[in-house]
Symmetry: C2
Subunit: 350 residues, 2 copies
């Protein structure tokens, strides 16, 4: 049996060291990781994936830890049922090009969750490639899914495109705010609310929590009136985004949050969105991989120095990126923008 | 003369309505916009591009407005010199799928900057495509560059991958924090600091400002010791990231911030980084466009129903995305992961 098949079997058998090795192979984009994941792929598609996002300072990591502890405290119908669900946490930091911050976060998590074999924590940092992190995160989540984790909490640090993309691939997206950030005009921008299935005001024991809830409620109403994606959902009952209040440091409100998550899961399954979001997730993964491979293949087929020479011409402003691509892909010669501009400047009409 | 050549000439002549129309064409990815930008491309490469990023609630937009006003208040050697520099603001919100928030922000800006023909403000919202916004922002900045703006302030809302990508294409990146956010463990993550050329603690009149500066200083020292990208800069004097304090609402510290920006600009030019960052920006734009076109061409060449059928097989978990791409690109048949797994489960050794 080949190495990757042995690895896949060990992951399937629940060996944590094998799982950690597989995740490293995937993170480092090693072919062996992809091969092992290919073996495990038929086992995927079962986990409940929850995206958790929010600005720094909202206590997001603490809340994710509390969520994991609460999920592990009892059995839930639909999440295994006969024992507490196995929970994986994937903490993604798209802004960190190295893992220093991630390691710090892990150590604090360890203290809380150590000794529970039903919890697995993995931190991921960006390697700097555009879109690469969303891609790798998707594969890491697939591996954890295949390894038998019933709930996968995917935590991202900010509110940028990468977080939105990562969250978009989850079944449920939870957006965390904290008091004092909701009064700002920026927070009133409805964009981040558009992706939220659940809103949480954490640090609800701080002054301003009620005001934060009020501002979020107003923003939600505004977004609802503007007609977000949820409005196009057809005949099924529309999901009303709940606003919950938690205090992660004491655990207050976390049980209610878990209940709200499970209600959303039921809603997704009843409405057909569970299936739809799962398919969107797969479609995005396929598209990203196809684009990567097409670019690799194209570059490999080019004569040496051809692309660098074209890049140099663009750097010299002899032609625009669009014109350069047109020329390289053989869709006819690029318009010589410099000559055209000189002609236009000289007042020559064509 | 063709329509796009007329448009390009009008933009070059300083007609604001033509510029606004060109930016709309670019934002909507209309071929005419690209064609006009192609004509204008030889005029690009002159503007000083400044990326401004930071979490919501830091007063980023107000600070950008103050920066514009301060830049417009006098002449600066190197930025035109004989009159105040023309300043363009590009406000990017990757989390907003519609422009509601952007319009609100614009209205407030208008009040401050209205009547100054040397300032141009443009808000951009995401249309939901992965990486699409960074791509369009780059073209919008090129158009403003060609239109003669000497300083282009590119403001992004958060700290995610998209913001990092957008900021990475600027000459100088300014990261804004505010008191009370710096004590959190998340803020200690050094990632966001890695991209900062200048750090600003805005709302410096609030309690905790000194503490925020201390925390940032400690984080910078940590990042410096870990050896960031700046450490590999060779023999030129290394840039020491300054931490500035501002109060955007009163203008306090903004003049010092402009001076720090101009010092960084001089540093970039003296060290050769100005040229290098400009080239990286062009290379990223070329790469993004090439990938888009390769994917479009590949899809156009496929028989109808071929890609959807492959997607359906991945959705059914018959093969992984990686295996599907391998099969579609003709690199040999995909390994049948389901059969392999069943064989592995049955204990069959190969």
């Amino acid at each position: 049996m080949s190495d990757h098949a042995v690895l896949a079997q060990a992951v399937r058998a629940g060996q944590r060291l094998a799982l950690a090795r597989l995740l490293s192979l995937i993170e480092n984009e090693q072919p062996q990781g992809e091969a092992a994941l290919g073996e495990l792929y038929p086992l995927t598609g079962r986990a409940y994936m929850v995206g958790v996002t929010g600005a720094p300072g909202t206590g997001k990591s603490s809340l994710v830890n509390e969520l994991a502890k609460t999920l592990r405290a009892k059995t839930y119908p639909g999440l295994h049922g006969s024992r507490p669900p196995a929970v994986a946490i994937v903490a993604v930091d798209p802004t960190s090009p190295f893992s220093g911050g991630a390691i710090l976060g892990d150590r604090i998590r360890m203290r809380d969750l150590a000794g529970d074999a039903g919890v697995f924590v993995r931190s991921m940092a960006s390697r700097g490639s555009l879109g690469g992190l969303a891609h790798t995160t998707s594969s890491v989540a697939d591996a954890l899914d295949a390894a038998g984790f019933e709930v996968i909490l995917i935590e991202t640090v900010g509110a940028g495109q990468a977080e939105v993309d990562i969250a978009r691939h989850a079944h449920t997206t939870l957006v965390i705010q904290s008091p004092g950030m909701g009064d700002d005009i920026q927070a009133l921008k409805a964009g981040i609310l558009e992706i939220a299935d659940l809103l949480v005001v954490n640090k609800a024991d701080l002054p301003g929590a009620e005001n934060a809830v009020r501002v979020l409620r107003a923003a939600l109403d505004l977004a609802g009136n503007a007609g977000g994606p949820a409005a196009s959902g057809g005949t099924e009952a529309r999901w009303q985004v709940p606003i919950l209040q938690t205090v992660a440091t004491t655990g207050q409100g976390v049980e209610q949050l878990v209940e709200a998550l499970l209600r959303h899961r039921e809603y997704l399954q009843a409405s057909g969105l569970w299936r739809e979001r799962g398919q969107q997730r797969v479609a995005a993964a396929l598209d990203a991989r196809l684009r990567d491979r097409l670019a690799e293949r194209w570059h490999a087929a080019q004569p040496d120095g051809c692309y660098p020479e074209m890049l140099a011409r663009v750097v010299r402003r002899e032609l625009s990126p669009a014109a350069a691509v047109q020329e390289m892909l053989g869709d006819g010669p690029a318009p010589d923008s410099a000559a055209r501009l000189r002609a236009a400047q000289a007042g020559v009409r064509r």
